[in-house]
């Protein structure tokens, strides 16, 4: 057998070549959320809605988004998403959507929905892979001209392949982006379906108006808040979040001349005093050029940077919804009797600021005998799949809800009439996979989620306890009402007196003295006689 003679190193070497990232993702499309037709349909909608919301927010426009999903043959759908965002400049359109790993958000330390420059182009990649058809892109920046593209992606090169292109001077006032594509997919109405997804988007983005037209009709999600959350700011990396390898690279490419200025310029939260302190701790001359530092010295500097006490990174790079907005979001979509929300102060994970907030809707029309519904949001984006692996689910299961008034068996999702929403906000949310459906359960993040849930739990418990206290008081009154005639009778018999007046006196004790009947439920007190 010829094949049984092994290849030599030389033969093997000749076979090697570079792979385009688009080829990689085409083959590994499950990494982008295109595992199966059902999930793929949701992923396309999700990526495009995320892009629309991000763009509108960045342009400080209250978002209004139209989503259409219409069947077009068996397992085929036409998906259209249109927004009122800033639109794209004509020549940017092919690059922004026709090239993977191309974007603006990757390099910035700031909170946003998409981050990797894969979302939109990934959808187009999936569309052409499953239908062979180009995607239609229509955009205007509000300059009375509208760009029309039909486009595909050249997978071998990771470059846009423009099928047709025209600019219409149509005088339209509209600005925004409209994306229309045909894909292979499957539509479901269940918990992991598009309607539920859009409902969660509406809850998590109460400042957005969304109209969804699906195969089974139209749903409108009105706006509940008329202002956008503040725009998050970009920040410099925080020294505690930088890794040794990254530090080395930064030192090589910095424009700063000295170690000291490198640290004050290229990092947040290092003043010149701190810079000198770090250098002293590392035993390094602060005036030396960053490019000149030896590997060992870099390591010393790195360790000193970790050791020194620093102010936490600036947190205006984060824009949580805030307690009020979360409650409004829940209220407009859910009928419940009690709402509460908690926004934790920002925290830091690997030098990346992040913030946890959560909210609960309780009681009312929510079903009492099922596991609570969990709405997971990451930078305002609902997470639908991989629920079990997600830090949020794990934190909810790992919290003792029995003490807060929900049922729970062991470490599982509690049961009760509640919806709990948890929102993680960060410049860099660590996901378990590129399909961005589950937050990785790092200890720092788990801890914050749990603290927020505990605070939320206490709010809930307060509410439930109040309700229970009233019920208890009522029950106590009933108990005494039931026992008093018996006691009066017995005391009457023992003392040879009529029972009626004794009963009246007993009743008057209750009336005068209601605190008596809400007395503690303690065991009998023990003391010494006499």
């Amino acid at each position: 057998m010829v094949e049984e003679i092994g290849k030599t190193a030389e033969e093997m070497g000749k076979e090697q070549r570079q792979i385009a990232v688009s080829e990689f993702f085409e083959k590994n499309r499950h990494l982008l959320g295109y595992d199966n037709p059902t999930k793929a349909l949701l992923t396309v909608v999700k990526e495009l809605v995320d892009n629309s919301l991000d763009a509108a927010e960045e342009a400080r426009i209250l978002p209004r988004i139209w989503v259409e999903v219409k069947p077009n043959g068996p397992d085929r759908f036409r998906v259209m998403i249109k927004d009122n965002g800033p639109g794209l400049v004509d020549k940017q359109i092919p690059l922004a959507l026709g090239k993977l790993l191309y974007g603006s958000k990757f390099f910035r330390l700031r909170q946003s929905r998409g981050q990797q420059g894969i979302g939109g182009s990934g959808a187009i990649l999936y569309s052409q892979l499953t239908t062979g058809k180009p995607t239609t892109l229509i955009s205007s920046t509000g300059n009375k001209k509208t760009s029309h593209y039909e486009m595909m992606i050249d997978v071998k090169k990771n470059e846009p392949e423009i099928i047709s292109h025209q600019i219409l001077e149509d005088g339209r006032e509209w600005h925004g982006l409209k994306v229309e594509m045909e894909i292979e997919g499957r539509y479901i109405e269940s918990r992991q379906g598009i309607p539920e997804y859009i409902k969660q988007v509406a809850i998590g983005n109460p400042f957005a108006e969304i109209v969804f037209e699906g195969p089974n009709g139209k749903m409108e999600f009105p706006r509940a808040v008329n202002e956008l959350p503040p725009i998050p700011k970009e920040i410099m990396p925080h020294p505690h979040g930088v890794e040794l390898g990254i530090l080395r690279r930064m030192m090589k490419s910095t424009k700063s001349r000295t170690i000291a200025s490198f640290m004050t310029n290229d990092f947040s939260r290092i003043g010149s005093g701190t810079a000198n302190e770090i250098c002293k701790l590392a035993g390094i001359d602060p005036k030396i050029s960053p490019g000149r530092l030896e590997v060992e010295d870099t390591e010393k500097l790195f360790k000193a940077m970790q050791k020194v006490k620093l102010v936490r990174p600036p947190t205006d790079c984060l824009s949580p919804l805030g307690e009020e907005m979360m409650v409004k979001g829940l209220k407009k979509e859910l009928y419940a009797e009690f709402f509460a929300a908690v926004t934790r102060p920002p925290e830091v994970y690997r030098g990346n600021p992040f913030q946890i907030e959560c909210a609960i809707a309780f009681g009312g029309q929510l079903p009492a005998d099922q596991p609570i519904k969990v709405v997971r949001l990451s930078n305002r984006v609902p997470l639908i799949y991989q629920e079990g692996d997600c830090a949020i689910t794990k934190a909810i299961s790992g919290t003792d809800w029995k003490r807060y008034g929900l049922q729970q068996s062991g470490r599982s999702i509690p049961v009760g009439p509640a919806v709990i929403m948890v929102h993680i906000v960060s410049v860099w949310v660590p996901f378990l996979s590129e399909s961005k459906q589950a937050v990785a359960a790092y200890p720092d993040i788990m801890k914050e989620i749990k603290l927020s849930l505990q605070e939320l739990g206490r709010n809930l418990q307060h509410h439930v306890a109040g309700k229970r206290k009233m019920e208890m008081q009522q029950r106590r009154k009933e108990i005494f009402d039931r026992y008093l005639p018996e006691v009066a009778n017995a005391v009457g018999k023992l003392t040879n007196k009529p029972a009626e007046p004794i009963l009246n006196k007993l009743r008057s004790i209750i009336k005068k003295n209601t605190e008596v009947i809400v007395d503690d439920r303690s065991k009998e007190e023990v003391g010494n006689a006499g």
Binding site: Y483, V487, A490, V491, L494, K523, E524, G527, N528, A529
Partner: protein
């Protein structure tokens, strides 16, 4: 008016005073748990300390037992007035009913009313029998004894195969003639029947008593009266396990739950004749033992700590039981022959005076 009736009325009046003053009525009930039981090594008795628990009417956790306590007190007053004796079970049934406008009963089970009756006893410091309440009847006796009870003369040696059922109240019976060298008290009815059929009491000139399990008040008081009035040694014969031995200790020292009346029921001169774990080897009972259960072992561990089991001989037996995880019932002796108990075991033990303290 009887002393008991007076005490019941005073109880009612104290509560009424609180009600008239619009205070939360309460009752002081002596605590009967182990923490308030004292072992008096001189008297060889368990007695009650002076801890009391307060039971309030207007406290959700206390309200029901408070009501139940008053119901029982009122019924007991009625029993005094009408001179009726009745059983614990009768009390339960006489008072059990559904409270108006609810599905709650005054008492659901007899084990709810029984402890409250004891509460009443200790609170008033009276005997249950003085309250005209008979305990459940348990225990039989046979021997050369003639007694008088309620005007009837009864000869314990002439009652056929059944023997005499010991009533709950033996206060009023009198002994006409007692002809016996000792009293043999056994836990199990089966052993009693064996010994009775074998005429052990005739041959050995003794009185046989079976407590049929944990000793009721009647048998305990009867044994105490016989042994103290006629200076008769008392030998107690139980299973070799923690429960059997505890039965012995109750006969001798009194019980934790009835510590308040140990002086009237305890029989400090009683000795333990068997079975012991050591007997298993001595009398070749290895083939007829039973594996001790978790609860037996747990109970033995508790008993190791009781002051009245601190004697080295008892510590040894308890530890042997724990170590070997084994117990033996009286009937294990039948494994060596149906008459082994009558003809070998008991005569040997008595001859050797092989008793535990």
């Amino acid at each position: 008016m009887t002393e008991v009736k007076k005490k019941l009325e005073t109880l009612g009046e104290d509560v009424l005073k609180d009600i008239d003053n619009q205070k939360n009525p309460d009752i002081d009930i002596p605590v009967r748990s182990l923490s308030n039981v004292i072992y008096d090594d001189k008297l060889k008795q368990l007695t009650l300390g002076d801890k009391v628990s307060k039971r309030f009417l207007f406290n959700v956790a206390h309200a029901k037992p408070f009501m139940q306590f008053m119901l029982i007190a009122a019924l007991c007053k009625e029993l005094q007035e009408q001179n009726i004796h009745t059983s614990l079970r009768d009390v339960f049934y006489a008072l059990k009913r559904t409270l108006p406008n609810s599905d709650e009963n005054t008492f659901d089970e007899q084990n709810e009313s029984d402890p409250i009756i004891v509460d009443l006893e200790v609170t008033l410091d009276v005997l249950r029998e003085q309250l005209h309440l008979n305990a459940d009847v348990r225990g039989r006796v046979v021997g050369n004894v003639i007694i008088k009870d309620r005007g009837d003369t009864i000869n314990w040696s002439k009652l056929g195969s059944g023997g005499w059922s010991i009533p709950s109240n033996v206060e009023e019976l009198t002994f006409k003639s007692v002809d016996a060298d000792y009293i043999l008290v056994m836990e199990k009815n089966a052993a009693f029947e064996r010994l009775h059929e074998d005429r052990f009491w005739q041959k050995q000139n003794c009185i046989l008593v079976t407590t049929q399990g944990q000793a009721a008040r009647g048998p305990r008081r009867l044994i105490q009266r016989l042994s103290s009035d006629y200076k008769l040694p008392v030998y107690v014969f139980t299973d070799a396990d923690s429960y059997g031995w505890y039965i012995y200790s109750v006969i001798k020292y009194g019980s934790i739950s009835l510590a308040h009346i140990s002086e009237r029921l305890g029989c400090p001169t009683a000795k333990f004749i068997g079975l012991t774990i050591s007997d298993i080897d001595e009398f070749k009972l290895q083939g007829f033992t039973i594996k001790a259960k978790e609860v037996d072992i747990k109970r033995a561990h508790e008993m190791l700590k009781y002051d009245w089991f601190k004697h080295p001989a008892w510590q040894k037996e308890l530890k042997l039981m724990i170590e070997r995880k084994v117990k033996a019932e009286l009937e294990a002796l039948s494994g060596r022959g149906l008459r082994f108990m009558t003809e070998v075991y008991l005569p040997t033990k008595i001859k050797r005076k092989d008793f535990l303290p």
